[in-house]
């Protein structure tokens, strides 16, 4: 049995089920991260003293990682555009670049974590460090999830391009929407945790 409206627009919603599904998932993700941002505000407003992020974290490294993640969003959107232009080789190139940039982000983040562990800046040490580890950790897990999905679409999953092009394009677009959301979360996490 074929799942309906994976490519065609559903008349009652004006959108296909793939896009509606991923947007509903992202809506739930907004609430997940929103809960943590709300917690951050509650803890910060209630704290008698709060460290400036720059005194504990490495701002140049954080800035570098922000640029890397923005770069990966650009390559992701270019991967999808390449499929629209029926250029499969370019798609593989841009998707591969997205994966490599994501892995670079994770490597840099791991280095930051290692630095924190070595200097005993652990979640139990302060409220600031607890929320830092929780928020960046959850974001990191989302990056890992994105890398797994993107790697599948770059490798074994890309065979679908030769059999069901439109469906494959939609899959890449859905993965892209998720990836841009992960980038968007970091755009807010970076100033909140590193700079304020």
């Amino acid at each position: 049995m074929e799942i309906p409206y994976t490519v065609a627009v559903r008349p009652d919603t004006g959108i296909n089920n793939v896009r509606l599904g991923i947007w509903l998932f992202l809506a739930s993700e907004v609430m997940l991260f929103g809960g943590l941002f709300s917690t951050y505000v509650l803890l910060r407003v209630g704290a008698t003293e709060w460290p400036v992020g720059a005194t504990l974290l490495n701002v140049p490294i954080g800035t570098f990682n922000t640029i890397v993640l923005i770069g990966s969003s650009v390559t992701m959107v270019m991967a999808h555009a390449s499929l629209k232009l029926s250029d499969f080789k370019k798609y593989r190139f841009y998707m591969g670049a997205t994966i490599l940039l994501a892995l670079s982000f994770l490597c840099v983040k791991s280095y930051e974590y290692w630095e924190k562990i070595e200097t005993s800046h652990l979640p139990a040490d302060s409220t600031y460090l607890a929320i830092y580890w929780t928020m960046t950790g959850l974001h990191g897990i989302h990056i890992i999830g994105g890398v797994i999905v993107n790697s599948y679409l770059w490798g074994p999953g890309s065979g679908m391009w030769h059999t069901k092009r439109e469906q494959f394009e939609n899959r890449v677009e859905a993965a892209g929407l998720y990836w841009h959301f992960v980038d968007l979360v970091w755009i807010f996490l970076f100033p909140v945790l590193y700079l304020l």
Binding site: T13, L20, A27, G34, I70, K84, L184, P191
Partner: protein, 118 residues
Amino acid sequence: MSGSIEETKKHIADYKKVAATLAVLTIVTVAVSYLEVSVPVAILIALVIASTKGSLVASVFMHLIGERSKTLYLTLALTAAFFVVLMFIPLLGHLDQVGVQKTLSNADAPAAHGDEAH
């Protein structure tokens, strides 16, 4: 996102412009953090820049700008409404006065005349 090859090529030009803007705004965010301003002003500036960057990502990279589905917009509006409520919960926590010990303004006043008779 759907459209012709020409439309896709136009989108690619937009992606490049947005990418450059995002990179510049990231550097501006870091530069502004070194300014000697009060914490509320610093928070305001940082959030305004982050919101601008977020809007660019959502509208151009996530194609919300060309979206025509009312269902999708309604879903996102509902999400935004709940998100705002979520952000106001800490404020409600601060306004909550249940369990807070209060001293009345006339607590030190001498007892009423009628009470002394007892």
